[in-house]
Each structure stands twice: as C-alpha cells, then as structure tokens.
C-alpha cells in the first residue's frame, strides 16, 4: 500500500488546480451573503433560515464536487492513457483504486472544512456562538457520507461505461436515498406481501446517507448527538465504503487497460 499516498496527493493536486471547487464556493458564499442581506422585520439576529440555506448549498456543492470529481478519475486515466505509465510502476490495481478514493475523499474533506468555516462565520455573526462540538460532528458525519458517495462513484465509473452517465446515476441515487431512504420502511409496510419484503430488504441494504445529515440539528441549535451514535455511524460508513471499494477493485483487477 505504499503507492496509495502518492496517488492520493496527485488526485488532490488535480482537484485543487481545477476551478470547480472555487466556483462552487464562491457561488455558495455569494448566495448566502445575498440572502443574509435581506432583513426581515428589521431584526438582524434571525439566523436559522440563513443557516439552513447555507447548509443546503454546502450539501449540494460537496455532493456535486465528490461525484463529478470521482466519476472522471479512472475514465480520464484510461482515456488519456496516463494509466499506462502509472501501472508500469510497481503499483497494484488495488493501490490505484484506494489511492484514487483517498485522494477524492481528502479533497472533499478540505472542501468541507472551508465550507464549514464559512458557515461558522456566517452563523456566528448572527448568533454569537461557536458550538464547536456540533460543527465537528456535522462535518465529520458529512465527510463519512461523502466517503460512501466517493466509493460509490468510483465503483460506478468501472461498472458503467460513460463517466457522465455514471455521475448522473450516482447523483440520482444519492439524492433519492437522502430524500426517501429513511421512509422506505414506512412505504414497505403499506405494500402487499411480495413487494413488502423486497422494499424492506432494499431498505436494509441501502447505504442510508441521510443518517449523516445533521443539518436540522445544527440549524435549530440542538445538543450534540450521542457519541456512541456518532461512532456507530462512522463504522456504518466505513462498512459501505469498504464494500464499494471492493466492488471497484474486483471489476478493475482483471480488466484490460486498453
């Protein structure tokens, strides 16, 4: 696993030399500040709607960054044939998969820290508070969620042929899980028998990305979540990430490169 770290750093370098992140960050900041400049009933301490908007933009931005950045990694390597000199080095394909994953994930982590700093400053100007534990938990869990998404995109980029269709599929799947994942059990219970078991099975098999969404707790100043739940969610993310990386490795292991 010696090659993992160098590969990851090259990925991070690439992502930060492209403009995507800056564009998204500037847009997020701009929209948030624009909305922040509206005063409702001459009260400048109203904070939650702004926090909610800012977090929504952060979630969309980082999801887009994670998926589009990861989905093109391996296809671009193959299209531009940079994979050939890379794999001609004493590097295994597993190391390439893990390195690409790690690079994308770390880049997302850096992006998250920048976004959350901005969020922290925005909400501090309104609420005059720095609930650091809450911020840490929210950032960490969102990062864990992005690990699953990144691994999923990486596996998808090997399973689906075109990188754009892969990005679309992963984006749709991730959004669908975030929106309805939590309710699939409720839906299942309303269905007749064969469908019920199927939907319930899907409910248990899906990676529940919405678990990692602490936005509402953050917006409404709830207390931090229990640390055991935080740790369990981290392990949950780890398990799914591992599964998707395994899928990626299995489909990449024997594949002809050209």
């Amino acid at each position: 696993m010696n090659a993992v770290w160098p590969i990851a750093t090259v990925v991070v370098k690439e992502l930060y030399r492209r403009k995507d992140f800056y564009v998204l960050f500037v847009l997020t900041a701009l929209i948030t500040l624009l909305m922040g400049s509206v005063t409702f009933f001459h009260d400048d301490r109203i904070a939650r709607y702004l926090k909610e908007l800012c977090l929504l933009l952060i979630w969309v931005s980082t999801l887009v960054i994670a998926i589009t950045a990861t989905a093109r990694q391996l296809p671009a390597e193959r299209e531009q044939r940079t994979i050939l000199p890379l794999l001609a080095k004493p590097v295994s394909r597993g190391e390439v998969v893990v390195g690409k994953f790690l690079g994308c994930w770390l880049a997302c982590g850096v992006a998250l820290v920048v976004f959350y700093l901005f969020f922290g400053v925005v909400s501090a100007t309104r609420e005059h508070a720095w609930p650091l534990t809450n911020y840490f938990q929210a950032l960490w869990l969102q990062w864990c969620m992005l690990a699953i998404v990144v691994a999923m995109s990486l596996a998808g980029s090997l399973v689906f042929a075109a990188p754009s269709s892969n990005a679309t599929i992963v984006f749709l799947v991730a959004s669908a899980i975030l929106l309805v994942g939590r309710h699939l059990n409720t839906v299942a219970l309303t269905l007749p028998e064969p469908a019920q078991t199927l939907v319930y099975a899907l409910y248990f098999a899906l990676p529940h990305l919405e678990l990692f969404d602490l936005r509402d707790l953050l917006v409404h100043d709830w207390a931090p979540i229990a640390w055991w739940a935080w740790a369990a969610a981290t392990l949950y993310a780890l398990a799914y990430t591992w599964v998707f990386l395994l899928v990626a490795w299995l489909s990449f292991r024997r594949r002809p490169l050209v």
């Binding site: 010696n2 090259v10 690439e14 080095k89 004493p90 050209v258």
Partner: protein, 252 residues
C-alpha cells in the same frame, strides 16, 4: 544465467466486440528470452502483436494462456516492475503537473529516497533537455517536449530493463537521434533494452539481437549479423520475407 525477460507459450486472444463474435488471436504461443545487458529489437509490421506482448509484460492485459516473468518474477506481481522503465507507444501525462512534479510522483512510486530522487530528477531533466521548462505545467509543452517527458519518466528509477514501444515513431530526426543516443548510453551502462519497432534502419545499428513477429507468431530470433549471414540478405529483405512479401513461396 536466468533471462531478465522470459515469455513462455504466451497466447492472447481478444474477443471481438462486433456481432460476428469469434476472437482475434493477437499472440499465438510466443516464447522469448532476453538476457541481461542485451539490446533487443522486437520487430513486426503493424498489427503483429508487439504492443500486445509488451502489455502482457506490464500486466495491462491478462494472457489467455502461458506466462511471463521479469527478473524472474511473474508479471502479475507489482514487484516485477520495480527495476523496469517503460515508454508507451503513445501517451500523455498528467497535464496539470509540471515535469518536475510528475517525476517526483513517479519517484515516490518507486520508493526512491527523497535526496536520491531529486538528484535523479535533475540529471534526467538535463539528459532530455527539459531543464528550462521543468516548472511549467505539461499542458504547455510541445509534442516533442511531451515525448521527452515520457522518456524521462521511463528512466526515473535508473531501471535495469527498459521496455520501449516504438520509441522513435512520430519523432523528428533530432528526436530519433536523441533516443538512439540514450539507448547507446544505456548499453554502455550494462542495462537491458527491449524495444519494438518497424523501422529497420535504427534496429540494425542499435540491436544485439532481434525477433521478427508476424500475425502473432514469432518468425525468427537471433543476432542481426547472424540473420543477415544465414539468409544472405539485408535485414530489410529478411524482414519482408518473414512477413510473406513478396507473396511468392520462399525457397528453404
């Protein structure tokens, strides 16, 4: 003495994607050995299977049958490539990195110590004459410069075996000369060079031994001088005869 590069009964079939099904046999039972210190020319017309052979040696393509070793290690093991340098037929490098960063990245993959890596990067950039452009992103390089980056990355680990896939195709005369110079220099250092080509002039002067491949089959192997003597013809005539040109049956 163990060969540095060993190919045993290698067969590679490509499944045809078209409706007709069936397979293309890119390599049919190829066996080949290259010894340490040799400069070996791997000849064949377009489509003979040269690139396929090299891709098996690098683990890019799984053989249908047979096996191959580098330094006595199966090519499926990444460690087989520790002392190897490879220049692809056609390639591009990470455009967003500079030559220096690219070489540093590859040096890390070979686990070179930092100080040594920097020394080698300086030396190699001098060798391929990219010193003045070393900090510019590769995307600003001309085509010739990009090819020289390719050569530089193949040499970064001071390899004992260098595999070059048509290293001179698409180069201008100056570029070819540079490649030949480098091959000579490596021979002087006692390195092994395995390169494919269909340009016979340079092969004749540069190689100790050659192999001629045609339609996936090995036609002949041996020192250039011995082949010329044996067939009573120039290398070019031998080559043409081996690939069935002129299409009249050749006398034994």
């Amino acid at each position: 003495m163990d060969p540095i590069l060993n190919i045993d009964n290698l067969r590679v079939e490509y499944r045809n994607r078209e409706l007709g099904q069936g397979v293309t046999v890119a390599l049919a039972d190829l066996s080949l050995r290259v010894n340490a210190g040799e400069v070996f020319g791997f000849l064949g017309p377009n489509g003979a299977g040269k690139t396929t052979t090299i891709q098996v040696l690098l683990g890019f393509v799984q053989p249908t049958r047979g096996s191959a070793q580098l330094f006595g290690v199966d090519v499926r093991e990444p460690t087989a490539r520790q002392r190897l340098g490879y220049l692809p037929e056609l390639t591009y490098y990470y455009k967003f990195l500079s030559a220096e960063e690219l070489l540093r990245f590859y040096a890390r993959l070979f686990r070179l110590a930092r100080g040594e890596a920097e020394r080698r990067i300086d030396a190699i950039l001098k060798l391929v004459e990219l010193e003045s452009a070393r900090r510019r992103p590769i995307k600003t390089y001309s085509k010739g410069m990009q090819q020289r980056v390719g050569l530089a990355q193949a040499l970064i680990n001071n390899p004992d075996l260098l595999i070059l896939d048509e290293p001179t195709s698409g180069l201008d005369p100056l570029g070819r000369m540079k490649v030949r110079e480098i091959i000579d220099r490596l021979r002087g250092e006692g390195k092994t060079v395995f390169f494919s080509s269909h340009e016979l002039g340079e092969v004749e002067t540069a190689c100790d031994r050659v192999a001629i491949l045609h339609q996936g089959q090995l036609k002949v192997v041996g020192p250039v001088a011995a082949l010329v003597r044996e067939h009573q013809a120039s290398l070019e005539q031998v080559f043409l005869r081996m690939i069935g040109y002129p299409p009249t049956p050749t006398p034994a």
